[in-house]
């Protein structure tokens, strides 16, 4: 199905991510590996560890539960953190980049 409207950027398969030449954006100073973990565990790990990076720096969460694609950006909105981007991982799953704002 084709998506139209505000939600489309969040939908799977709407925009195939090109098989990665060096992705743009800042390099994360902390990578949290939540691969194989079900939501809400990836969010809990993110909430626990985001304070390990300095304000203004980027943390990445690796997860393969599809729910994380919605939950990580929604958590950022609720907690006023800055969701930078989602990248597709070669081994399956996604990397979510979040900039700590406070």
């Amino acid at each position: 199905m084709r998506f139209r409207g505000r939600a489309k950027s969040r939908q799977p398969a709407a925009a195939p991510v090109p098989a990665a030449p060096e992705p743009s954006g800042p390099v994360p100073v902390l990578v949290i590996d939540a691969l194989g973990r079900k939501c809400p565990i990836p969010i809990i790990m993110l909430a626990e560890r985001i304070r390990e990076v300095p304000v203004g720096e980027v943390v990445a969460v690796l997860a393969d539960d599809p729910a994380a694609r919605t939950d990580v950006p929604a958590w950022c909105r609720m907690k006023s953190q800055d969701f930078v981007r989602e990248e597709t991982l070669e081994q399956g799953g996604w990397g979510f980049h979040i900039r700590r704002t406070y």
Partner: protein, 381 residues
């Protein structure tokens, strides 16, 4: 009703209305014959069936010959969508549907897509509501049918059906409305061409749906021909079920305004109290343009299913769009489309006879329950 204490899942199914029970028992004894035959007992059954049809039509504000009884709400949706598409094959095979429609609509759309049709999903905003202008922009010269629910089944947000229907009329595209979640609870919106409903959602029996095809709407059955229900629905009619469905709908309609006011006040209480007593919670869905009886919230750092199990242990039946069980690999498409937290999700939907004390008891046990589950996962609030 003692049996429904703590039952807060009316959106899944409303407890049977007493009027439905009385009508069902009576019709089981008096209207069991084949309504298609010509002898006396059969003609009697036919009259009972048609009277039920007229009563449903009256509540919906349509003509009796526009109403058919189906074997479920899901069947009504499937017939409405696929029959609407089939009748307009010469116009095209493009279907427009809201992204947060019930799965019965989306499954019909998937079948249409597998058969070579094209489907456009119209996204929703954070509250779960489609934008009429965006919906209108999705309509094309080859659009055969558009679908928009009357209200969302998971978060209670009312959709702008009348506005979208005007756009559809201008584009000469019929609009199919799945009204399963709102019939008997809110006014029927204006302007649709096809409508589907489900009797057990308004206190009627299970296994009875309603399909309405407005005059002038082209519709062709996607199923093999059958004489029943004006050739719209195959199979022997469930006459007692239809009678009970009509009785319940009528009874609900009489009390609708008073019920809505009372339930809406209880929902408002939940909407304001939960964020006050539970940290890291988000109440979702439109706060104003919503169904009177339904409220949904998501608790951060909690598994929805664990929360449901714990609440069940405490005597509460509620529902969730979360996906932490083995049989649901994906979270609710509604929560995804809205961009809200998909875990820790709780849908509370109040049956008509709910008591304020039940709601208060729910509100009193919720904070400790959430705190316990967060503690189990190692979250320090």
């Amino acid at each position: 009703m003692a049996g429904s204490r703590g039952y807060l899942d009316a959106a899944s199914t409303e407890p049977p209305h007493p009027a439905a029970r009385a009508a069902l028992l009576d019709a089981l004894d008096s209207a069991w014959a084949d309504p298609a035959r010509l002898y006396g007992t059969a003609r009697g059954t036919r009259i009972v069936l048609d009277r039920a049809r007229a009563r449903v039509a009256n509540v919906l504000g349509v003509r009796p010959d526009e109403v058919s009884f189906t074997s479920s709400g899901t069947q009504a949706v499937h017939l409405a969508v696929l029959g609407g598409l089939r009748a307009r094959r010469r116009v095209g095979s493009h279907l427009v549907v809201g992204a947060v429609e019930h799965s019965s609509v989306l499954h019909a759309a998937e079948l249409h897509e597998r058969d070579g049709g094209e489907v456009t999903l119209v996204g929703v905003d954070r509250s779960g509501r489609v934008d009429p202008a965006e919906f209108a922009a999705a309509l094309r010269p080859d659009t055969a049918l558009a679908c928009l629910q009357s209200a969302n089944h998971e978060v209670g947000t009312l959709q702008p059906v009348a506005e979208v229907a005007e756009h559809c009329r201008a584009a000469r595209v019929p609009l199919c409305t799945d009204a399963a979640q709102s019939l008997g609870r809110a006014d029927v919106p204006a302007g649709w061409s096809l409508l589907a409903g489900s009797a057990h959602k308004w206190g009627g029996p299970g296994g009875v749906g309603v399909l309405v095809v407005r005059k002038g709407t082209r519709w062709r059955s996607p199923l093999p021909d059958d004489e029943r229900e004006a050739r719209r629905v195959p199979g022997f009619e469930n006459v007692p079920g239809a009678v009970a469905a009509a009785a319940a709908l009528e009874a609900r309609h009489v009390d609708m305004a008073a019920d809505a006011e009372r339930l809406s006040a209880l929902v408002e209480r939940i909407r304001s109290e939960v964020p006050r007593t539970v940290p890291d919670v988000e109440v979702i869905g439109d706060p104003v343009r919503r169904l009177p009886h339904l409220v949904t919230f998501s608790c951060l750092y909690v598994e929805g299913e664990a929360l449901l199990t714990e609440l069940d242990r405490l005597g509460f039946a509620v529902s969730s769009g979360s996906s932490c069980t083995a049989d649901t690999l994906r979270p609710s498409h509604v929560l995804e489309a809205m961009g809200v937290i998909t875990h820790g999700n709780v849908r509370v939907s109040l049956p008509r006879d709910v008591e304020a004390a039940d709601v208060e008891r729910f509100l009193s046990v919720l904070p400790a329950t959430v705190a316990k589950l967060r503690g189990d996962l190692g979250v320090i609030a």
